[in-house]
Symmetry: C2
Subunit: 143 residues, 2 copies
């Protein structure tokens, strides 16, 4: 079961400037930052609200750190904007498998490590009406 909007992933050219835009315009503060070498991004998580499944919803601001990363290629094609959306679940493995059996392409054979120690996978946007869709199980201690 998918129980929350976990985050909205937003691709940007300059993470520091984009963080400052969200702080100055809306008052959103940085909750967490990290570099994900595998994904080729550095990122900032802005926590927007808590959710009734015990989790939270974030904006995830993403800046590529390599020109061959998926986010860099996406930015070169599309410019800045919403890159993906993510639903939270207690069981990313089971959800991914159930969705795969429905004929939706799941991009990873097994979930990988995402923000804040979460486990994540992605669904092919062409199978999801144009929306790159992520499934997330948070690390136990984080919200």
């Amino acid at each position: 079961m998918l129980t929350r909007i976990d985050h909205i992933g937003i691709a940007c050219f300059d993470l520091d400037r984009t963080v400052e835009f969200y702080r100055a315009t809306y008052g959103f503060e940085v909750f967490h930052t990290e570099v994900n070498e595998e994904q080729g991004v550095r990122e900032a998580m802005l926590r927007i609200n808590g959710t009734d499944d015990g989790g939270a919803s974030y904006l995830q601001l993403l800046e590529p750190i390599r020109e061959d990363s998926a986010v860099a290629k996406w930015l070169a094609k599309n410019g800045e904007g919403v890159h993906h959306i993510a639903f939270g679940t207690a069981d990313v493995d089971g959800e991914a498998e159930a969705i795969r059996e429905k004929g939706v392409r799941v991009l990873y054979e097994e979930p990988r490590i995402g923000s804040m120690g979460s486990r994540i996978t992605f669904l092919h946007p062409k199978d999801c009406h144009g929306v790159l869709t992520e499934l997330v199980t948070s690390a136990p201690s984080r919200h």
Copy 2:
């Protein structure tokens, strides 16, 4: 103060097929449907979770009903995908005014009527790092 991710607006060519995709793939059910003649769309709201400000987060699926609507033009250019994101606030008028004073273009002079009797306005995506951003104050009775 913006206190939640209110919804993610997703533009689609065929609302019924897209609703069915979200139901069959994730189990998300339709919470509300309506036609917004002014915006030139028909829409379905899928409630995903409650939020700790007493509101909720939704997916808003949007199909244009007129070729000259903003969503129809957006779809013709971009294909299906995430059209906008929306933050919930108790005071859309005050937030819009404060953000306008910071130099971000607010697209409506005064908030207009959005989904489920809410009051909404939009911020220019070019002033928001490529993200068409909506501000929403829900009608008192709805979540």
